[in-house]
């Protein structure tokens, strides 16, 4: 078979995937970019006007800032929790399979259900948590009003910790037991073994978890929309929620498209940066 025929065959097999990505990803992204160059009615060409407007829009800057805080909080706490759970459940404990399964359930549950569930738990007046605290003689909480962003971070971590744990478990099971044995013979304690063996060898998993986590958190929309509606005020109006308001409430699809393109750029840059840092650390 000639090389040309081989290439033609390869292209033929690749065509469905290429078509899929072009039609469902690249064309919409291109369309989005184009829409971002027009005004709210999609009639007048405004060039980069929508993009420069975003950079001086206090609502957008606020939403971007709290999204970064949300992403940082979720990534740090979520990764630490997932790793901690993985290390614990990697031990030969009785019932560990059951615990692993139970911890994965929140991740497998629809975000709408998670949101409604926590809204009902945390509601200060009719929520289950305050009823429980009341029955124990403890003061009630009003976290949805006093610490709304931290509450959304907490719910996200609760929901995603099981998945992070599974990823770290896979990473832990790839570390040869020989290393730990040698370290033990050399007198290394549990903490020393964790910091000298486990953590460095989990670097690729940590990198993967942080990139996936970052992309997910920067695009977070559903949870604050369901739990707090972006409030109180604009305390939980994350970037994607702001974008939604601009598109579907303000009816300004040109500006909303520009905002979504900017989000894509931010996610790309931060992900590349993370990959770079990861590569250097692994080198």
């Amino acid at each position: 078979m000639t090389r040309r025929r081989q290439a033609a065959t390869a292209w033929l097999f690749l065509t469905p995937a290429v078509l899929f990505f072009v039609l469902l990803f690249f064309l919409p992204i291109g369309n989005q970019l184009l829409t971002g160059l027009y005004d709210a009615d999609g009639v007048s060409f405004v060039g980069l006007g929508n993009f420069s407007r975003a950079l001086s829009d206090p609502e957008v800057l606020h939403s971007f800032l709290i999204t970064l805080l949300y992403a940082a909080g979720t990534l740090i706490v979520g990764t630490a929790m997932g790793l901690g759970l993985a290390v614990i459940l990697n031990q030969a404990l009785p019932g560990r399979t059951l615990f692993r399964s139970v911890l994965l359930i929140p991740y497998l549950t629809s975000v709408s259900i998670v949101g409604l569930l926590w809204r009902n738990i945390l509601d200060p007046q009719v929520g289950i948590l305050n009823r429980l605290l009341e029955s124990l003689g403890l003061p009630g909480q009003t976290w949805l009003s006093t610490h709304p962003l931290a509450t959304i971070v907490g719910i996200t971590v609760w929901s995603g910790a099981g998945y992070t744990m599974v990823l770290f478990l896979a990473g832990l099971q790839g570390i040869p037991g020989l290393y730990y044995e040698a370290a033990r013979i050399d007198g290394a304690g549990p903490w020393r073994r964790f910091f000298a063996i486990t953590l460095p060898l989990l670097a690729p998993t940590t990198l993967f978890v942080s990139i996936i986590g970052l992309i997910g958190t920067l695009q977070q929309f559903a949870l604050p929309y369901i739990v707090t509606g972006g409030g109180p005020g604009n305390a939980t109006s994350l970037y994607a929620h702001r974008l939604f308001i601009v598109a579907f409430n303000d009816n300004d699809f040109g500006y909303a498209s520009a905002l979504s393109v900017l989000l894509l750029l931010v996610v790309l840059v931060l992900s590349l940066l993370q990959l770079r840092i990861g590569d250097r650390a692994n080198a």
Partner: protein, 418 residues
């Protein structure tokens, strides 16, 4: 005939599949699909208004016209989102419930819903606008065109009270505060404010405050009245502690749920909360009182309408269903079922309505409805400004932000948006 080896066979098969898939994607809809579509009549409706009275009318309409009735129900924010996307794509429903007066005008001026005056003029038996209460009609008109027909007519500002806890309902702000203080005990709050910013309207209207004066690009004026109203509401929570701070959600039923759970003695709302309380907590002796008097007695107008998208497949058919859904017979059936108040004069004159004490109270509230600024809807910025007000209101009521400064910030932002 040449024999096919396995690779050639796969190549051929894949090629046919790809060509078929691309061909299908690029081809127009088949006549069969079109035929099926043409027999489907789609209605967007609010999830809280899915009364049996309407279902019966819709089902009968489907049978009469051999149509598959696709009655889709949403919460208001989701309905708005879906409708906006539909208007963009051109794939619209046949009839839509309008969230409140003015929304249809906003869509109509953008060319997305039809002006209905010609249909109404050609349909004398329908009785529009003559048989409809003026406020409900005027709020839906702009420059001589009507973009929606009133479905319900209600007023926000009624005082709901538990007769076991409150002997005599309050009539003024001072009495409201006094009773709220007296009834705040243990787990019961004297009242409960709503996280939904539209529930502030009765309070600021009672201080003669206009939400907007588009002509002068002014909002929440006069400023003194606005400050008094919002400060009063804030003080109920943070100074007098007679109301819990509401929780920011997209749900407006928080105070009603507290009242139904006997954890609030009073709250301010509209007739839509009568049904859930009567059905969910029949043991509560519910009292309903007329709107409070601040500087004046006032309520804010509420109530859904019906509108026909400009690209609806058969607007005449949509109009026909609209007239059946807003007929006095249907109105009376919906009132009997859910206690909802309606916009027709002939409905108000019906003996069953006139004899109902709750409806009598609602009628008194409707008589003191504050005027709406129709120019705000016509500006196309009503939703954007409502979102800004939502933010400001929650900052004051939930986050305890200083009232004067927050109102000033809102005025500035709303003016800029306009």
């Amino acid at each position: 005939m040449p024999s096919l080896d396995r690779r050639s066979f796969l190549q051929l098969g894949l090629g046919v599949t790809v060509l078929g898939a691309v061909g299908t994607a690029c081809s127009p809809a088949t006549p069969a699909a079109k035929k099926q579509d043409a027999r489907t009549f789609t209605i967007y409706w609010n999830a809280g208004h899915g009364y049996q009275a309407y279902k019966e009318v819709i089902d009968q309409f489907g049978k009469d016209h051999d149509l598959q009735m696709n009655w889709q129900k949403f919460q208001w924010p989701d309905l708005t989102t879906k409708l906006t996307a539909d208007f963009r794509s051109g794939n619209v429903p046949d009839l839509v419930e309008e969230v409140s007066a003015g929304t249809g005008t906003q869509y109509g001026l953008a060319g997305n819903v039809l002006a209905l005056d010609e249909f109404a003029a050609a349909d004398q038996a329908f009785g529009f606008p003559g048989d409809f209460i003026d406020q409900a009609v005027v709020a839906r008109q702009y420059e001589g065109k009507t973009y929606s027909i009133p479905l319900h007519l209600t007023a926000n500002g009624l005082v709901f009270y538990n007769k076991e806890l409150v002997d005599k309902p309050p009539t003024t702000w001072e009495e409201f505060l006094e009773i709220a203080k007296a009834t705040t005990k243990d787990k019961v709050s004297g009242t409960a404010l709503n996280a939904d910013s539209s529930y502030s309207a009765p309070f600021y209207s009672q201080q003669k405050v206009d939400f907007s004066q588009v002509a002068g690009k002014q909002f929440m004026m006069p400023a003194d009245g606005a400050r008094t109203a919002l400060q009063y509401m804030q003080d109920l929570i943070f100074t007098h502690k007679v109301s819990p701070a509401p929780v920011a959600t997209t749900d407006y039923s928080g105070p009603q749920k507290l009242f139904s759970a006997k954890r609030a003695a009073m709250f301010v709302s509209g007739p839509w909360d009568i049904g859930p309380i009567r059905q969910g907590s029949p043991d509560i002796d519910l009292g309903l009182a007329v709107p409070l008097t601040g500087a004046v007695q006032a309520s804010s107008m509420a109530g859904a309408g019906l509108m026909i998208p400009a690209k609806a497949r058969d607007p005449k058919l949509s109009w026909e269903l609209l007239t059946k859904l807003t007929a006095v017979k249907t109105e009376l059936a919906a009132t009997k079922e859910a206690g909802m108040s309606m916009p027709r004069k002939s409905w108000a004159a019906d003996p069953a309505v006139a004899a109902d004490p709750d409806l009598g109270t609602i009628a008194k509230a409707l008589a003191v409805v504050a005027k709406q600024d129709v120019a705000l809807s016509a500006s196309g910025k009503a939703a954007q400004i409502a979102e800004l007000w939502k933010k400001a209101y929650q900052q004051m009521i939930i986050q305890h932000a200083p009232v004067e400064q927050t109102l000033a910030d809102f005025r500035k932002q709303a003016g800029a948006a306009l």
